[in-house]
């Protein structure tokens, strides 16, 4: 078991410089550790795992991982991943993105990857801000919060990431937080195993930008907020809607079996080859 034998370190690139690039206390490193634990528990071969990212702080994750890794362009990681997955359907393709990368510039690709139900595992680290560029508001910044480009308060409704994925057609949708790291790796494992488009929204925080401008304190303080604001799906089901306002609901929100895109395309290939060989017979 990972935590006892400390196999996590075997999944980090030994030739890469550590400590990692993220700010002290950033939740992205916690997500990376959970991802490693999930892969380790599943005993996946490293050659069979690909991690693809977009641009932003979360985008800096793949380089640390000893898998097939790609750091692509802003918002387009799911499109690159679609090509790779079609070329090598046996690969476990994991796509890590921030909230701005996945839902703003990447919104269109997010919707279509879910719509196709292609067997990718998307992990969106949602810290409600554009951290890398200094704290501009993102599609998930709460109303009235301050940001460097919302000095008078944000007046845009935040995007419900999980709802969007479910409606667009994803097979498996779950949410966790970086406080709930132990639960997170189980969800990631489920997501990778699921045949179809899986989304894990991980609520994190950026104390460096969002936290500072909204006076929310240190990484420890913001971690504590996650603990206090979150509630399990099972518990939330028992509460009336008005009591859920401001709460982060954790757990599996959607888990359905639907036809997966690369499997369906394989059927297309069989049909095409069948009709071609029929033509040869009759001609």
């Amino acid at each position: 078991m990972t935590r006892e034998t400390h196999d996590e370190y075997e999944y980090l690139r030994h030739t890469k410089k550590f400590p990692n690039v993220w700010c002290s206390g950033c939740g992205i490193g916690i997500v990376m550790a959970a991802l490693i634990r999930a892969v380790d528990r599943m005993e996946l071969n490293k050659d069979d795992v690909a991690v693809i990212s977009g641009i932003g702080c979360t985008g800096r994750m793949p380089v640390y991982l000893d898998f097939n890794t790609m750091h692509t362009t802003h918002g387009r990681a799911l499109a690159f991943a679609t090509g790779l997955k079609l070329a090598q359907p046996r690969l476990n393709v994991i796509v890590v993105m921030g909230d701005g990368d996945a839902l703003a510039i990447g919104g269109n690709h997010f919707i279509h990857a879910a719509r196709r139900n292609i067997d990718l595992t998307a992990i969106v680290v949602n810290n409600s801000i554009y951290g890398m560029t200094g704290g501009q508001y993102s599609p998930t910044t709460p109303m009235d919060s301050l940001a460097s480009t919302a000095p008078y308060g944000n007046v845009e409704q935040p995007m419900p990431i999980c709802d969007l994925a479910i409606v667009a057609g994803a097979s498996f949708v779950a949410r966790s937080t970086v406080y709930h790291a132990i639960e997170m790796d189980r969800l990631i494992e489920q997501a990778i195993q699921k045949q179809g488009f899986s989304l894990i929204e991980v609520i994190s925080y950026c104390h460096t930008t969002f936290g500072r401008i909204n006076k929310l304190g240190t990484a420890v303080d913001m971690m504590r907020i996650l603990k206090e604001k979150s509630i399990s799906k099972a518990a939330s089901d028992k509460l009336p809607a008005q009591e859920l306002s401001g709460k982060i609901v954790r757990g599996v929100l959607c888990n359905q079996d639907k036809p997966e895109f690369t499997a369906l395309y394989q059927q297309v290939i069989e049909r095409a080859q069948q009709s071609e060989s029929n033509k040869d017979i009759t001609s």
Binding site: R13, T15, K16, K17, K46, D47, D48, A50, I52, P62, V63, D66, F67, N68, T69, M70, H71, T72, T73, R76, A79, F80, A81, T82, G83, L84, K85, L86, A87, Q88, R90, L91, N108, H109, I111, H112, Y265, V268, I269, R271, A272, Q273, E276
Partner: protein, 373 residues
């Protein structure tokens, strides 16, 4: 393959398959759509993959992802889509991932006239994406050549680990000519130069002396990092000048040192002619006819037809400029490749024959320029 009446776009599709293309991701756009439609039908028959992505940006991204996964990949588009693809052309150039991008040029700018021809994307093919990067762009003048240059495009992209643009135009794309295409088995294909060192020793951007690092496919036991950031030989992001400077030199050198193999062209009577026409694409058809007419009238005129647009055939044009006193450059734009000719030709007179309204430049227009001397 037997003799067929075939459309240029269709020849591109067959050329891609003959070159070993097994992945196409694209978005419909006039006048390139036939390429996508044909490949959607033919690729799965060969076990290849076709996908219509949600936009052109995603299309080229998917091609690059599939290429790293080991499949020769292609996309096809026209002006507006070509504009959208620029970021990923730069990404493919920076990460040195092979892919082929067909741009069937139509009249622009903007929506322009989807069913009319132009050669308006020549400079965009060179400099559309930001930053200094080399690029290869080829332009066929016939249906048969559309097949051949598509194969060449794939071969160049694997040989030099670079994106290659096939600069078609709407006339060549939609015209039909009689062709007899070679069997796929008879076509010369360059296969990916995989690495032959043990995985722990593999450097995805290491210099092996040829300036082109061998490319191992994802999922084959070689795990490495690909990024659009400036990177070192391991593919890790770097800000060190002693890693960035050599990379810049190597990536430009890999094209420059092979320029003789890359710049494809045809010369006809250019050696001692005082007047030479330099043309490409559909306009080369008019130029050929104009030169024929001029010679019937005893004009001593040469014709140079460029099949490689980028890198520019500097040596050829320089040589022509040594002996010719008048160089004519007809193009369906307001003078794009002419800028390169003028740069090289120095004090020689360069006449532009331009039209950028969707109509073809006629042989008469070029003949007028030849005889206006």
């Amino acid at each position: 393959m037997k003799v067929k009446l075939m459309q240029g776009n269709e020849a591109v599709a067959w050329g891609a398959l003959a070159a070993g293309c097994r992945f196409f991701a694209g978005y419909p756009i006039t006048p390139s759509t036939e390429i996508a439609e044909i490949l959607s039908r033919e690729l799965p028959k060969l076990g290849g993959k076709f996908i219509q992505m949600e936009d052109e940006i995603a299309s080229l991204a998917a091609c690059i992802g599939a290429s790293v996964g080991g499949l020769k990949s292609m996309t096809a588009t026209s002006g507006p889509g070509f504009s959208l693809m620029q970021e990923h052309i730069g990404y493919a150039a920076m990460t040195e991932i092979p892919c082929v991008l067909v741009n069937v040029q139509r009249l622009g700018p903007s929506t322009g006239q989807p069913t009319s021809v132009s050669q308006g994307d020549v400079m965009q093919a060179r400099w559309g994406t930001h930053g200094d990067h080399p690029i290869i762009a080829l332009s066929p003048i016939s249906v048969r050549q559309s097949f051949d240059l598509t194969v060449t495009a794939f071969n160049f992209s694997e040989l030099y680990r670079t994106p290659v643009i096939l600069l078609m135009d709407e006339v060549i794309g939609h015209m039909r000519e009689k062709v007899e295409l070679p069997e796929a088995a008879d076509v010369l294909r360059v296969e990916r130069n995989g690495t032959s060192v043990p995985p722990e020793w593999y450097k995805p951007y290491g210099d092996t002396g040829s300036d082109v690092p061998p490319l191992a496919n994802f999922g084959t036991g070689y795990r490495y990092h690909v990024t659009g950031l400036f990177h070192d030989q391991m593919g890790y992001p770097t800000q060190r000048l002693d890693e960035i400077d050599p990379w810049i030199e190597r990536v430009h050198r890999k094209i420059d040192r092979n320029i003789h193999d890359i710049t494809l062209f045809e010369e006809d009577g250019t050696q001692f002619a005082k007047t030479v026409v330099v043309s490409y694409g559909a306009t080369a058809r008019s130029a050929r006819h104009a030169v024929k007419l001029a010679r019937r009238r005893r004009s001593k005129v040469g014709l140079a037809t460029l099949f490689t647009i980028w890198p520019f055939a500097e040596e050829l044009v320089s040589r022509i400029a040594d002996t010719a006193s008048h160089i004519i450059v007809p193009e369906m734009n307001r003078g794009q490749l002419a800028l390169e000719v003028e740069r090289i030709a120095g004090r020689r007179k360069v006449t532009r024959v331009n039209q950028a309204n969707g109509e073809m430049i006629t042989p008469q227009m070029i003949l007028n320029a030849i005889e206006a001397n």
